[in-house]
Structure formats: C-alpha cells, structure tokens
C-alpha cells in the first residue's frame, strides 16, 4: 500500500489559513519537541504573531515511563513564557494519533500556570485515538494502519518532509 502525502510546506500553508481568523497577535504557539517546534516556527512567521513561539518537552508527563520509554537522555527543558496565566495558547504538533502526547503536553503546560484557552493545531490526523482528543485545526486526515510510522524530518537546508515506514519494535 502506498500513500502519497502532499508537500509539508503546502500543509503548513493550509494550516495557517485555517488558524488565521481565530488568532490574535498575542496568541502563543507552543511547539511540542521536536517536530511541533519546527512547525510552530513556520506558523509564527506566517501568522505574524508578536509573542515568540514557546516549546515544551513532554518527557516528565509521559505515561509510558514505567515501560522504559520515559526520559531520554538529553531531554530538553521546556521554554514557556514567564506567565501562561490567562494566555491563549495553541499547541502545535506534527501528527495526532493516540492523543497521549497531548495529554502529557497539557499537564506540562498547567505546571506553569492556568491559561485562558488551549487549542490544538496538527499537520496530520492519522486516526487511532486512545483518548478523547480532537484537533482544533488540521488540514489533512489519513487512515494509517497501526504498524505504519509517519515521521517528520528536517534536512540541513531547513526543508521539512514526511516519511512513511514500518514501525520498529513499537510498544
């Protein structure tokens, strides 16, 4: 089975178009390490936001820590604005699948304060949800089988691309 994906740049443009009517200049984009951070940087430029994009690492809140998949060495600290209190946040990630990453991201965000509103923007919703989570903004929905992986990569020139493959020893 082969699935052809649209270019990532086109998906980001479509995502920005969906978001544009709903964001204000002081909306804060929060990219999830690593792919979400790259996308948030692009969206930030396209949407002309004033607040710099934030980034979070969800390792502290992952629910598969006990399976030995928890903290990776070299986990990066999260960088959120001094106060998220009362802010409008849009969490940005590359792919939405089970919803567990978003659950961890929300926990991480709430360790820093109480935002007014949190939305979710992803490039691809690949299905396979295990938690009641839905994207607020999403330009592409796919039905990928569980054994298939969908990874975002960035080359030296900063170009983003998706690659499809077989999952290796997935938990």
């Amino acid at each position: 089975m082969s699935t052809t994906l649209p270019p990532v740049d086109e998906l980001i443009d479509r995502l920005a178009a969906q978001m544009r009517p709903h964001v204000a200049p002081d909306t804060v984009l929060v990219g999830i390490h690593t792919g979400g951070v790259w996308i948030a940087e692009r969206l930030h430029a396209l949407l002309g936001l004033t607040q710099p994009p934030a980034s979070i690492d969800v390792s502290f809140h992952r629910d598969d820590h006990h399976l030995g998949n928890g903290l990776r060495a070299g986990g990066r600290p999260s960088h959120l604005p001094d106060t998220t209190e009362g802010a409008h946040l849009v969490v940005v990630d590359d792919v939405l699948q089970t919803g567990r990453t978003l659950r961890a991201a929300l926990n991480e965000i709430f360790d820093y304060g109480r935002p007014a509103r949190v939305e979710l923007a992803v490039l691809v919703d690949r299905g396979g949800r295990e938690l009641p989570v839905a994207a607020t903004y999403c330009p592409l929905t796919l039905g990928l089988p569980d054994g298939q992986s969908l990874d975002l990569a960035r080359d030296d020139a900063g170009r983003l691309s998706f690659s499809l493959g077989e999952k290796r020893g997935a938990p």
Binding site: D57, S59, G70, L71, G74, P77
Partner: protein, 327 residues
C-alpha cells in the same frame, strides 16, 4: 573470584546506584544529561513532575544525616513519590534486629526504592544482593553514603557542577584536598573523574589522611599524591575540598585544627596558585577556618551553593532513571 556488577541488569542498564565504580562514561554522561531538564523544575509554578507518582521511596538512614536525607526527600517529592523516612539507628538496630531483617520488613511494605545511608562500607551492596537473591530486585537501591566507600550521588553532582563550569573533562587538572582516607565523597569523585577522562588528579593531604596505597587505589588511573598543598594546587582547574570530621582533628591523625589549617586550609593566597578561573567545591557542611577560609568559601570562585542546587536535579535524574528502567 569475579562477581557480576550488581548495579547493572543483564542489558547493562542501571537498576541500583551503589557506586560510581563500574559505571561507564556513557552511563555517567547519561545521568548528567538527564539531570539537566530537572534543574528547571524548581523554577516552575508547580515544582513537581509525576514521574514517581504512586511510588514509595524509603529513606533508610542507619546513620543520621539530616542534610543528605533532606536532599533525597526533596528530590523524591518533586518526582511525586511518597517518601517515608526511617532513622534506623534509633529504632530497630537498637533492638538487635539485623540489617537484612529490617530490609525484609520494609520490602514487605511494598517499597519501590530504598535510599540507604549506613556506617559500614558495602552495606547497600549487601541489601541489593539480598533483594536479588530473594526475587525482589524490582526494588531499587540508591546508596546515600556507606562507610568510607561511596557516596555516588554526591560524586555525580560534583561532576555535574564541573561539567557546568568547565564543559570538557579531558583537559582538566583536579586537586582533591583533605581527609581522603575516611572520605566516601573522595572515593566517588575519584572514580568519576577517572572514568570521565580527567588526565591529572592530585590527592592532597598529610600521610595520616591518605590511604597507604592511595596512588594505586584505582588501577591505571592518573592519580598523584601531593603532601605539599602548593604543589597540589599549582595550575589546577578544579579544587575539591573535603570535610574534616571533628573526631579526626585532635589525636593520632592530626595534632590540631589550627595546624591543619596552616598546612592544608584553603586560603586566598593558596588558591592564587591554581588557575585564575579555577572553581572551588566543597560537599558541605564546611568547617570554616579548618579546611577552608571564609574569604574563599564566600569568594567568586566558590561554587558550593550551586552544588547543592544541582544535587537535587541529579538525585531526581537518578531516581527517575531507576524507576523507569524495565527489569
């Protein structure tokens, strides 16, 4: 007779932290890397992450140490663990219960982790081996100081501090000064420095406070004994001072604290022999005027308080790493 290193599982992953000895450079850097994000946790609104939520951490202190116990307690609590503190020297040991009986009892209370402080070198090994022999090696053991042998989290936080200020271990000259003979901190530091590739390590102190075979204590290590403080400090990048215990200050080891300070106390004049950007470390609590002059302890080269802060992050890293490893 060779025995398997009891702190690693068959995949070479850390299941207990008993000593720095026997841990690879990769594992040491892995722990330090992992500690880094934890340094930021204390600066958040919620100073807690849920990695050890629902886990029971028992602080088994067979030897009293409020300070060390507190640092482990803070680390465990910031990981959301439930912490139970036991000062055993005042309870069961006085009633004649053996160490392993105590351990069996506490293991039966569904402990997930033992943080052990004991006056006898090797006691945490005995506990870890006993847990393995009785099929309970899902309980992790962290050595919080055993006799003169090891204090691995102190050694790790010292390495975190050095890496923070000096980055590259492989170009450093490090002086360890003071009572090396009786110091578990020194032994942990030495193993870590050697493993991390420090090319010159000086052991500075009088003959009465150094092991007879000090320079041979780690095979093929760049250890050099200096009885002369000036020789030990000259050109050093890192000066690691050790605490001198009160009971050693007078008697057959040393005549008096004053005489010790004269020869081995770190004063601004002596520190001037080290590199201008040398850092000064001390595991605390300090004896001002015995091993270190206040002008140095409070001076711009001292990194003694950052050591304490990093210590929490390093202990969080170790505990979360152990709890996260699959058996």
């Amino acid at each position: 007779m060779t025995q398997a290193n009891p702190q690693l599982n068959q995949h070479g992953e850390l299941i207990h932290l008993l000593s720095i000895e026997g841990l690879s450079r990769e594992i040491l850097h892995g722990i330090l890397d992992r500690a880094e994000p934890f340094t930021a946790v204390a600066e958040r609104e919620v100073k807690k992450v849920p990695l050890l939520r629902g886990k029971s951490v028992f602080n088994l202190f067979f030897e009293n140490s409020t300070r060390t116990r507190t640092t482990f307690e803070i680390a465990a609590k910031r990981l959301s663990a439930d912490v139970i503190n036991l000062n055993i020297n005042t309870s069961s040991a006085a009633k004649g219960e053996s160490l392993l009986d105590t351990v069996d009892n506490l293991a039966a209370m569904q402990a997930d982790m033992f943080v052990v402080r004991h006056a006898s070198s090797g006691a945490p090994y005995l506990i870890a081996q006993h847990l393995a022999a009785t099929g309970r090696d899902h309980i992790h053991v962290v050595n919080a100081g055993d006799g003169r042998h090891s204090h691995p989290t102190q050694g790790l936080l010292d390495m975190y501090t050095i890496r923070h200020y000096k980055q590259d271990f492989t170009k450093l000259t490090v002086a360890v000064v003071g009572d090396i003979l009786h110091s578990r901190v020194a032994r942990s530091q030495l193993h870590a420095l050697v493993t991390l590739g420090v090319p010159e390590i000086r052991l500075v102190g009088p003959q009465t406070l150094l092991p007879t075979a000090a320079a041979q204590m780690i095979p093929n290590a760049p250890l050099r004994v200096c009885h002369d403080m000036a020789e030990g400090l000259r050109g050093a990048d890192v000066v690691m001072m050790l605490r001198l215990q009160n009971e050693r200050m007078q008697g057959a080891l040393l005549p008096s604290p004053q005489e010790y300070f004269k020869s081995y106390g770190l004063t601004p004049e002596k520190l001037a022999l080290a590199k201008p950007d040398a850092i000064v470390m001390h595991p605390g609590p300090m004896n001002r005027g015995v091993e270190i002059d206040s002008a140095v302890a409070d001076g711009r080269q001292a990194v003694i308080l950052p050591q304490v802060t990093f210590g929490i992050a390093v202990r969080m890293a170790v505990m979360s790493m152990l709890a996260g490893v699959s058996q």
